[in-house]
Every structure is written in structure tokens, then in C-alpha cells.
């Protein structure tokens, strides 16, 4: 569903490439967790899938479509939740969800919108309050609802649980399980080794733009992920 083939990207003026000959595939129903320190190229990889950053070489495809040549079609098949879900402060959570869904070409009734917000974990009494007064976690939940509402075939997550409390993080993990059951391909950049280990089918460790380790679910069960990660970083 999501594929990067020898993807490379170097930003102007940078000494080293942000992403270096990266090969990556995420199948439907699979959750691939990208681990790595800041600057390892995780966000750049996601930006390449979103078409926000053009690849220098190699190619990125979504559902078999090339991101470079089909920028709108590929975006329609993707949902995206950033680390910070920034919404319109002067609209309610419901209005934000409605607006972003309309942009994706969906039109939901109010009960459907409410159901999506609830499914994402947002308490019903907050639905019609302006986002201005929301906590970070509540905004994140609206972001999840926006992603759910899109009914996308693939989901891109850029450190989605950073700053969430453990119970919110847990709720989020359940949402991801449901999406996997619906055959959604998920690529998640994260620092959260615990969640990666719990939720992912496969884990990739990135360093200086390259995938230095890929572990399958079976390998994950037998590995001390933290130790492996620290070893990988030590070079």
C-alpha cells in the first residue's frame, strides 16, 4: 500500500542526505513503526509520502500511484496525523471535523460526526465547544477523528502520541488496532518504544536517513528493543 523505493532526499545546504536510499513497504493491515532520533529522516520520509517534499531520486507510491505525478490522488488515499494537530481555534471540534472532512470530499451528518469524535475518544460534552479551550490531547483526538472520517487506505502518523497521557495513549492504540482490522496500512514515526513494541507488526530503526534494522513481529518478541535501539545509535 505504501512503498518507498531507493528514496533519497538532501535539503539544499545540508551536508548529509535527510533520507538515503530508503526502501520501505507497508502492506494493508500492517503497522510499521519508524524509530530513530530527531533528524534521522522519519518526518522527511512522511513528508515525501504526503508530497510536501519532492524526492531527489527513487520513488514513493501510495496504492501503486506515484506521489510525484499524482499528488492529489495519493493524498486522497492517505490520512495524516501530525505531532501537533493544529485546528481552527474559533471553530468547535465538530465544525473542525466537518470542515476537514468536506475538504477530503466527505459529507457527514451531525450524528455521524459526533460518532466519529466519540470513536476517537473525545468526550461528547466537548464536541461543540470551541477548540480554543481544548487540551493537546483533545486536539489530537479531533485529528484522529479527521483521519477516521477520511476512510483512507493508508495512515501516516508523525509522533502521534507524544505528550499524551498513558490512558489517552492506550485509547489511541485501540483505534490503531481497529484500523488495522479494517486493512489500513499504517506508517508511524515514533519515539515511543513501548507503543512500537505493543502495536507494530514491524519496526524499522532509522539513523542518518537509512534504515539500519527492520524487525518482524516474531523478531520483536525475542528482542530487547531498547537495547537494540541504543546499540544502533551507538553505531
Amino acid at each position: 500500500m505504501l512503498a518507498a523505493e531507493t528514496l533519497s532526499k538532501r535539503f539544499p545546504g545540508a551536508a548529509a542526505p535527510a533520507v538515503d536510499r530508503l526502501n520501505l513497504k507497508v502492506a494493508p493491515g500492517e503497522l510499521f513503526a519508524l524509530l530513530g532520533p530527531n533528524g534521522a529522516g522519519k518526518t522527511t520520509t512522511i513528508n515525501c509520502f504526503l508530497g510536501f517534499v519532492p524526492a531527489d531520486s527513487g520513488r514513493v507510491t501510495v496504492d501503486g500511484l506515484d506521489v510525484a505525478s499524482e499528488p492529489l490522488e495519493t493524498k486522497r488515499r492517505l490520512a495524516y496525523i501530525p505531532e501537533q494537530v493544529n485546528l481552527y481555534d474559533f471553530l468547535s471540534g465538530l465544525e473542525n471535523l466537518d470542515y476537514f472532512s468536506q475538504l477530503a470530499g466527505h459529507r457527514y451528518s451531525k450524528p455521524e460526526l459526533r460518532r466519529l469524535l466519540t470513536e476517537a475518544g473525545l468526550q461528547p460534552e466537548a464536541h461543540e465547544r470551541r477548540v480554543r479551550g481544548y487540551s493537546k490531547g483533545m486536539r489530537q483526538k479531533v485529528g484522529i477523528a479527521i483521519a477516521l472520517a477520511k476512510r483512507a487506505k493508508a495512515l501516516l502518523l508523525d509522533e502521534p502520541t507524544s505528550g499524551l497521557d498513558p490512558s489517552a495513549s492506550h485509547e489511541f492504540s485501540q483505534v490503531l488496532h481497529r484500523l488495522r482490522a479494517q486493512n489500513v496500512a499504517i506508517l508511524m514515526a515514533t519515539h515511543d518504544l513501548f507503543r512500537a513494541r505493543e502495536d507494530a507488526n514491524r519496526v524499522g530503526i532509522m539513523r542518518q536517513g537509512r534504515l539500519v534494522h527492520i524487525l518482524s513481529a516474531a523478531e520483536l518478541r525475542q528482542t530487547d528493543l531498547e537495547k537494540l535501539y541504543l546499540e544502533a545509535m551507538a553505531g
Binding site: 510536501f52 474559533f90 475538504l103
Partner: protein, 472 residues
Amino acid sequence: MSPFRSIARTEWQLLVRRRSYGVLLGAFSVVLAFATGLGVLRQDRELQQQRRYQALVREQWVGQPDRHPHRVAHYGTFAFKPVGPLAAFDPGVESFSGRVQFLEAHRQNAANFAEAGALSSAFRLGELSPAFVVHLLLPLVVIVLGYRILADDREAGRLRLLLAQGTPPGALLAGKAAGLALGLAPFATTAAIALAASVVLGPGAEGAAAWIRGGLVAAAAGLHLAGWLTLTLWASARAATPVRALGGLVTLWAAVGIVLPRTAGAIAATQPPLPGKSEFAAQLAAEVHRLGDAHNPGDPVFARLRRETLARHGVDRVEDLPVNYGAIVMARGEELTAEAFARHFSAVTEQMERQEAVVHRAAWFAPYLAVRALSAAASGTDLRALTAFQRAAEAYRFSFVQALNALHRDKIRFTNDRAQRLAASHWAAFPDFHVRGPALTESLAGTAGCWAALAAWLLAPLVGLWRTGVRP
């Protein structure tokens, strides 16, 4: 709902939910209503005053006692410039130029040259007219309401989410523009009401032509504001932060709305400078002296006139002529000065038009100059309308002075000329001064460049927007 419509509607909602929106709309409406009321009252008072004085002047003219016709010629009369069709909305040069001209024999009391010579003063900020509010202040409202429209989304990181939803960038830009336009609609409506009020209540406006003139002012203002809207969108799409977008836009507004018009006016005034009032009079006197001096018995022009007149009537002495030779000399003298005046006036007018051309060229860089020129032309209050009035007043002066000279020639005997009188009944036969304002076609002649400048002003940011696109 298409993305375009969703974006337009949401942007509009976001705009009107701001607390500053209502304050801005209220303040704008109050200022514009005040300016319009003031404009209508001022023009109304002007018209009443003109009517009163015109009636008084006529009454005094007709009420003159038995008099020598040349005394009547010096008694003179006044010409009043008619109130421009949309002067209540846009007083144009009328706020600087005189509107009354004293008409008498021998002299072209071109009182108005003092003002025309001070053309650069016409580029000051000017009075608080509805035109000033709509053409200069409304673009500032566009900037204030619009500078955040894309820059805010980018700064807050929302733009990534908006684009990630698969929104076509074109729909995003068009939707934002439409949302901003919807937010501006109440302001535009207020402006349209002010314009319509000037057409309905303004004393100079008459009939369907006034509505067409109003429509032209609206078209020019609409084009001008559409340019500012597009430019604001572009700045917001380009700028790194909202504050930078605002800074850039306000700086540009001040440059093209205040600094450049004043500079263009000052430069125009030296291209070449117009003669001052006394300079003009001195040049004219020298010219008249050169053409022929009625008081110099040896002057060749008048020596020939004398020869020809005597020959035509077959007499040897002017005293033997059946007509009054003194009046013939005066009529010839009047012709000569009128010709000289016409030449000098045309030269000055051409010079003013050259100065205006400098200002019109500057309009390519400062759309405010273009919209102001178009607005004044359509309102019938531009320089062209003033010049037309001055020409009409001079034509009227010439015709009544020559009619008095004809009476002098035919009804007053040469001998003991000054002691004679003509019956008071003669004066009522002279027509009153009437001049119509410029026709619509005359008003619009030569404005194509300004329309083109406004169109370019809209096109340039459109091209810029197309090239910049939307970057997350």
C-alpha cells in the same frame, strides 16, 4: 459541497467571528456615512448658493439703469461652474479649484489659474470625501482583514493538514479569496450605498447618466479592490509569518497610496511648471501689446483698421462714419485679446495635460492614482471638466462683450460718446450664463490608460499567486 465552497464558507465564518470584524465594519460605515452626508450637504449648499448668486447677479444685470454699453461691459457678470454629477461622492479638483469667475470686457479674469498652477496641491490627502474613504481607506481594510488568510494557517501548521486532505491548491486559493470577498461584501455594500446616495441625493446628478457614472465609479473601485484582495492573498501565501505579510502590505499601501501620488504630483508640477497667475497675466499683456495696441495711434494693426473702415464707408474722417469708430476699435481689440488668451489658455491646458500624463504614467505603479483619476472623471469633477467650464465662461464673456460693443457701435454716436446712455430695456435681452457639465463620452476620453493600469494591478498579483502557489 465542493472544497471551494467549504473553504469560502469557513473562511467567511472565521472572518466574521473575529471581534475586530464588527468594530471595523461599524467604524467604516460611520466614517463613510459621515463623509457622504458631508459631501451631499456641501454640494447642496454650493448649488443653493450658486442659484442664489446667479439669480442675484442676473437681477442686478437686468436692473442696471440707462447706461453706456461700455460701462455695462465693465460692470460685468459672474459665471458659476455647475456642480459635477457625482461631486457629492468625489469632489475631484473642485475642492482645490475656484468655481466662480468674474467676466468683464478686455480681461480674462482667469481666477482659476492660481489653483490650476498649484496642481501638486491636488495630490495632498484631500478632504474626507466618500471617494477618499472608498479608494484609499478601504484597501487598508482589505489588508487588515486578509493578511492572515494563508500565513496564519502556515504558521500554525494547519496548512499541512489542509493540503494533506487532498485539497487542490487552486481550490484552496480561490476559496480563501472568495471567503475574504464575502467578508468584505458588507463593506462593499456600504460603499455602494454611499455611491447610490450620492447619485440620488447629490445635487449635480441628473437622470440615467448619473447612474451610469455611478456604475463606472463602482467598476473602477471594484477593480481596484479586487487588485488589493489578490495582492493580500499573494502576500499571505508568500510571507514567512503573518506579521511580515502585514508589514509588507501596509508599507506598500503607504507607498502607493500616499508617497508615490505626492511625489508624482510634485514631479508633474515641474514638467514644465505652469505659469503663476501674475506671470500668466504678464505674458498675456505682452502678447496683446505685440498683436496690436489700440491706444497707440501709430499701431499698424489699428492704422489698417482705420483705413479699411473709412474706405468701406467712403469717408475721410472717423467722425463722419455712420457707426461709432471707438466701438469698432474696441471690438477689434477684444478679438485680439481673446485670440491671445485662447492661445495662452490652450498652451497652459496642454501643459496641464502633460502634467496629468506624468501622473497617469505613475498610475501604473500606484493604482490609487488610476482609481482616483477614473473616479473624478466619471464624477465629472476632474481637470477636464474644469477646463471645459473655463472655456465656456470665456466664450460667454466674449459674446456678451462683443454684443455690447455692437450696441456701442450702432447706438452711440462718436461725438460726445461718453455722455450718452442706452435704455435699460436692452440689458434683459442678454442671455444668462448656462453651461452643461461634460458629456459622459467627454468625461471618459483619455481614461483608457487608467483602466489598463487597474487591470494590470489585478493581473500582476494573480500571476504572482499562480507562480507562488501554496507551500505548506
